[in-house]
Symmetry: C2
């Protein structure tokens, strides 16, 4: 099968198109013909130095799949040949999805939302489950207010929608150019983080009390600065490394969540239901053929992507 | 009444003995003749610069009380004159306990453990409820392992006992001189943090997996370094300011708790029950008369105190 492998750890130039052995499904695994995949920040972290993830070049990386079941192991119970599925491949101990075929244990898979194309469905698994985990930690509900950093980003754009679906009021930071898009996802207030201090905005929008929860997908000192924006007994969620002292956190009785998404079919099923109920819609920045993956990485690393970059494999 | 007031914000020299108006109980308040109080780190933080706590010198500070009810407001339901009680005075909006009498709303008070002296009981409220909050967050139980930093300290020495009472295995850091005391509280492993790396010790004692939870009452980079000592999906609790980047936390799916103890009679009732069941015993470093409070602060700020310094007011 064709695959875009990494020939070494390094910059986007390490990608090369090659023939790679087609994987074979084990007893509880399915073989999926991959129609589309998408790129996530973890992809370039692994591409540049992925030994922490157990990756040894040459290797196939990539962590989103939407496709069709082509073969099933003898012990597979839920899926049959021809089923349309979507899921996020395991980061540890599996092959990635930048390839024509992928094998996965059926426990991390569910059926593709019936109202989404393969392209749309491939944008959701990793980013959607990541956003779901953080919003679930926050236990958001009607009457609450959440501040979502990078609300136009791959994870942020889905977090905005899940927070809205939960009944919360959503403040989102983004560039001025992305404000209409973020509003269209349901954000009640958009904050241009380049011209406005998000702490001031959060306090202004909550009559000085602070928001109930903050979601940091940015990193750096964003989490530390967010302590000033959250109310006592509030919650902070992060999916990135942070810098800066968390002084003041103990005086506010804060709870923090640091998340690295773990795969499950149950979690994918939640995404399927949200998509079919129109509570979660894919946000696609652009669509490229798989052999343009190096350019996709360059764009993602440069920042400013709105939603997800999807890679098409089989049309 | 006699009180040791702070005449200004500053060092221990700001304490002065003076006559201070005896407080009068409001409708739901009790007037307590204070037999003993104790010193906590928050005391010297407020003494040195306590405007954040709403304190304006001259003022009475101090946040532990064991004493006898001398008068009750018209709406008080649970207590009557002569009852022996213990509690932690509110930090925000109330007068402290370095005085002959103290007034408190009955909602934050409970009965003194019947098996403890006033001196012993006065060592428990603030530190004990603080330790309880953190251990409750950790949801410790049999089969789990917790690392408690500063296990000989005022909060740490109580946290060790509550963690043991919860069925967990306890690793505690302390100086060599305090090892016998910390073992006597129930710690299974004591780590001399000055000669041994606590991360190495934690990994060694858990066959490389990492502990289930870590309690930081030390501050500085202790919390950041503890990320290496805890297992994936583990918990970190802190009651102090921290410095250092929390890198690696998101890759481990960690949950963090930053606690600032809030008062309630229900929480005090838990301490009473634990004390009467002999699951929590006071750890008293030393006993001083109230007029030695400046020296008590000096000792506490210098570090190395084992358990609590208690101040006697009425014998």
């Amino acid at each position: 099968m064709k695959a875009m492998i990494i020939t070494d750890f390094g910059g986007p130039e390490v990608f090369a198109e090659c023939d790679w052995p087609k994987p074979q499904p084990g007893v509880t695994e399915i073989l999926v013909r991959v129609h589309a995949t998408s790129v996530n920040p973890v992809d370039y972290k692994i591409r540049s130095a992925g030994s922490w993830a157990g990756v040894t070049p040459p290797a196939v990386i990539g962590y989103d799949v939407a496709g069709v079941v082509e073969a099933v192991g003898a012990g597979v119970k839920r899926f049959k040949i021809g089923d349309e599925v979507f899921y996020s491949p395991l980061i540890f101990g599996g092959q990635g999805s930048y390839a024509e075929y992928h094998v996965a244990d059926e426990s991390i898979v569910t059926f593709k939302p019936s109202n989404l194309s393969f392209t749309e469905a491939a944008s959701l698994p990793l980013a959607g489950c990541t956003a779901w985990d953080a919003i679930a930690f926050m236990q958001l509900g009607p009457g609450q207010t959440v501040l979502i950093h990078a609300a136009a980003g791959g994870v942020g754009s889905l977090a905005v929608q899940i927070a809205k679906a939960s009944g919360a009021r959503v403040l989102g930071t983004c560039r001025a150019a992305n404000q209409p898009m973020v509003r269209s996802l349901g954000a009640d207030v958009v904050i241009d983080y380049r011209t406005e201090d998000f702490v001031e905005a959060a306090l202004r929008e909550t009559e000085g009390r602070g928001v109930d929860a903050v979601y940091d997908t940015v990193g750096g000192d964003t989490l530390a600065r967010s302590i000033q924006a959250v109310r006592p007994h509030g919650k902070l969620a992060s999916i990135v490394d942070t810098s800066g002292d968390l002084n003041g956190a103990y005086g506010k009785n804060l709870r923090l969540y640091f998340g690295f998404m773990e795969r499950s079919g149950e979690k994918m099923e939640i995404l399927r239901v949200l998509a079919e109920r129109r509570q979660l819609r894919p946000v696609i920045d652009s669509l490229m053929p798989l052999n343009q993956v190096a350019n996709a990485h360059r764009r993602l690393e440069a920042g400013g992507v709105s939603g997800k970059i999807v890679l098409q494999i089989h049309p």
